[in-house]
Amino acid sequence: MGKKIFGGEVSELNDKKDNSEVTPMSIKLLFDNEKFELMKVLCLLNALKVGKKGQRKVKELLFYYSLEAYNLDIYLNNFVKDFNKSHIPSPNQYFRFQEKIKKIILLLSHYNFILVKSDMATKLEDLNLVLTESGEDFFEENRTLYINELYENYLELINQYKFNSQNLNKIKTGAFMSDDTQ
């Protein structure tokens, strides 16, 4: 099959070695597990559907996905007392995921799990997505224990944090309130 691209450059070594990977798969999976992420997005879409049926902006997806995956909820909390400074999650991950979601949307559309209801002029974040029946079905069929837990997590987050530009900003900038500015 085609060349594997890693890090943006195709190295000669890769050519010679007949498609062998530079990184071991186990580590690659930590950063770039497409199928897994796809499933997660599908799960999120299903969770979002609970509250409100209809279209969802990609923005919203990004928001909740990042909250869950990268523990960025810290920035939305008012208290930062018990905070271990060495474990601050970086808002950069939000932006990284922004890139990945393009692929995921393409795949989801290919499998007919979603419908993309926008035209070419709209920006990525403003694209409207609708969950299809087959998307729902696929989700239900493969609702493992793990996925179920994830689903519950998402529901909680959706309840806890409202999706608005203020919150979104907080995540993006990574600024959080400390005790005294409370």
Binding site: M1, E34, F36, L38, M39, L107, Y111
Partner: protein, 633 residues
């Protein structure tokens, strides 16, 4: 001048050798240190060069410095010179040896010290101007006390040889005649040099006066104005310190009577030591347990991470079946263009994923087993810990019981006495400082007087050159007469060829000088007769420049000393000569100080005058049993 005593001192050793005012004989075996006594006197009086401690090993081991107490006219001075360091300086204390802690010494170079001696003896140093070898430049040589001292101390390698008066050392030998003149005050000092010297003296006197002024104002600043009162205070403090010391002693004696002795104290000490050991071990183990627990905690976190990863991998394996990514690519829903495949698809995905899963499981197992091991180790440590803690409490109890029984001696009392003693010692030191200052001022005053005397002498010399010639004739008449008389006593035929040369200033016999004859016995007799003549002339007022001391090492060398009982008429006269030496020396010692070092001195004189007999080895000059510093001081 009279030598009172020679003190050899080291940190743990001190020995004092005292000298009689008349004749002192030091006898003893070879290598016992007899000659060393004379050499040390020479060293202390400014001999250049160091003492070789490879040869004088006992001296080097035990001693660091030498003191020589001298009496000059009415003044007592102590010279001090270090043996191993700062050997080019002499420290002059203008006091007796036992008083030196009340004085600050004058630390001077060797030459300066010689000058001080000359001044005290009231003779002026003499400067020779001579041409430098192989050039037309001139240089100044000083004839000093060291040159005169060659007539005072004759060591065993010079007596009876051609090296008499260090003849073999050209630089020294050429000053001998001048030294002889200086002894008899026959030098014709260059008037110019004398005048220059006078100016120097006057400047020095002014300097000293300024220094005295400075010291006095310092004294008043310290608040010590009255010498006598100061002294009394010092003595009083000394007595107070003595009292306190005896009090302390008494208390200590009281307590050691009560408590039974070393035995119990040892046990107490052992208990305490054990207890400290155990406490340390406990601390160690607790630390180890802490670090183990920390390690376990972090491993637990690691396992959690692994488990989360595991879940994801399992999910991925599941999804791997369910979702397949198309090879040809995907169509964009908006613009319907084909997106080339940059998707992950791997035929071996499944196997890889399972492999990964296995690896993770292994990792988790590994970490869990490590945690297990560490837990076991913690348990083990905890057991150890409890044993130690038990021991600790037992020991603590034991010590507690023990200390309740023993009397801890009146510690607080002794402590307070110690504090008082320290305070007193401090005040005493301060008062002593004042005393030293005072003595320094006195010393400088005396020095001024000496300088003034020297000035007068120089002035006299300048005005006084004519009468010198007649003096010279008288002197030579006298010493020739005495020299001949002594030679006769020593069994030599005396005639006009026996004399003291009036320019070479050395003795002659049979028309040949003391540096020409060969017989050791003859040389020795000539030399002793010569020196004796000079000494004797002191009584008649000549030889003022001679200190009035004679130090001789081994006069028996060239003279047969054993009396052979059944001798006929032509018996060997040597033993009689030997006896005559002693007679002469003891006569001279009535008015001069004579120190004689001899292996086996003549019996009669030995009984009278032998002050020290040194034996080989441990009973020689460096004798531990004669050490004046006892260990419990």
């Amino acid at each position: 001048m009279i030598l009172n005593k020679l003190i050899l001192q080291g940190t743990l050793y001190r020995r004092t050798i005292e000298f009689n005012n008349d004749l002192t004989i030091i006898s003893g075996e070879t290598t016992s240190g007899k000659s060393l006594v004379l050499r040390l006197i020479d060293y202390c009086l400014g001999k250049s060069g160091k003492i070789d401690f490879n040869v004088q090993t006992e001296l080097g081991d035990k001693c660091d410095q030498i003191f020589l107490e001298i009496k000059i006219k009415d003044e007592i001075i102590t010279f001090n010179r270090f043996l191993k360091e700062k050997q080019n300086k002499i420290r002059v204390y203008f006091c007796e040896y036992n008083q030196i802690d009340k004085y600050t010494p004058k630390i001077v170079e060797l030459r300066e010290a010689m000058k001080i001696l000359m001044n005290k003896l009231e003779i002026n140093e003499y400067q020779l101007i001579r041409k430098k070898r192989n050039s037309s430049n001139k240089q100044i040589e000083t004839v000093s006390f060291r040159d005169i001292f060659r007539f005072v101390y004759i060591n065993q390698h010079e007596l009876g040889t051609h090296d008499f008066l260090s003849k073999k050392d050209v630089f020294k030998a050429r000053k001998n005649a001048h030294a002889f003149k200086m002894i008899f005050n026959l030098t014709n000092e260059n008037g110019e040099a004398a005048k220059r010297r006078i100016v120097d003296i006057q400047n020095e006197i002014l300097e000293k006066k300024k220094e005295i002024y400075g010291l006095q104002s310092y004294l008043t600043d310290l608040g010590i104005t009255d010498y006598v009162v100061n002294n009394l205070k010092i003595d009083k403090k000394y007595k107070e310190i003595q009292d306190l010391n005896s009090q302390k002693k008494e208390i200590l004696e009281r307590t050691t009577e009560k408590t039974n002795s070393n035995h119990e104290n040892k046990m107490y000490i052992k208990l305490k030591d054990d207890l400290t050991g155990i406490t340390n071990d406990v601390f160690e183990i607790k630390n180890q347990i802490k670090s183990l627990m920390l390690s376990i905690e972090s491993k637990k976190f690691l396992i959690e991470d692994y488990k989360a990863e595991l879940l994801e991998v399992e999910e991925t394996i599941e999804l791997n079946y369910k979702l397949t990514i198309p090879e040809q690519g995907v169509e964009c829903p908006l613009c319907a263009s084909k997106v080339s495949s940059t998707f992950q698809e791997d035929d071996s995905a499944e196997t890889v994923l399972t492999k990964i899963k296995k690896q993770l499981l292994n990792k988790i197992k590994l970490v869990e087993s490590l945690i297990d091991k560490e837990n076991k180790l913690i348990v083990h440590h905890n057991d150890e810990l409890s044993v130690l803690l038990e021991k600790q409490s037992i020991l603590s109890e034991a010590i507690h019981q023990y200390s309740q029984k023993t009397d801890v001696p009146y510690l607080s009392q002794i402590n307070s006495i110690n504090v008082q003693i320290n305070k007193l010692i401090k005040t005493q030191e301060e008062l002593k400082e004042g005393l030293k200052l005072y003595n320094k001022i006195e010393e400088k005053r005396k020095l001024i007087l000496d300088l003034e005397l020297e000035e007068k002498r120089l002035n006299d010399e300048i005005t006084d050159s004519k009468s010198r010639e007649s003096e010279e004739i008288k002197i030579f008449e006298y010493i020739n007469k005495e020299y001949k008389a002594f030679m006769k006593r020593l069994k030599y035929e005396v005639d006009s060829t026996t004399y003291i040369h009036n320019t070479e200033m050395v003795p002659y016999y049979n028309g040949s000088s003391v540096y020409s004859h060969d017989s050791g016995g003859l040389l020795e007799c000539m030399q002793i007769a010569f020196l004796a003549a000079i000494l004797k002339s002191k009584k008649s007022g000549f030889a003022v420049g001679h200190p009035g001391i004679l130090m001789l090492d081994s006069i028996s060398k060239y003279v047969g000393t054993l009396q052979n009982e059944d001798q006929s008429e032509n018996k060997i006269k040597d033993p009689e000569v030997y006896e005559e030496f002693y007679k002469i020396l003891s006569e001279l010692s009535k008015d001069n100080q004579i120190i004689l070092v001899e292996n086996t001195p003549l019996e009669i004189y030995s009984d009278l005058y032998t002050k020290y007999t040194f034996l080989k080895g441990a009973r020689g000059l460096i004798d531990d049993s004669a050490n004046e510093i006892s260990l419990d001081q």
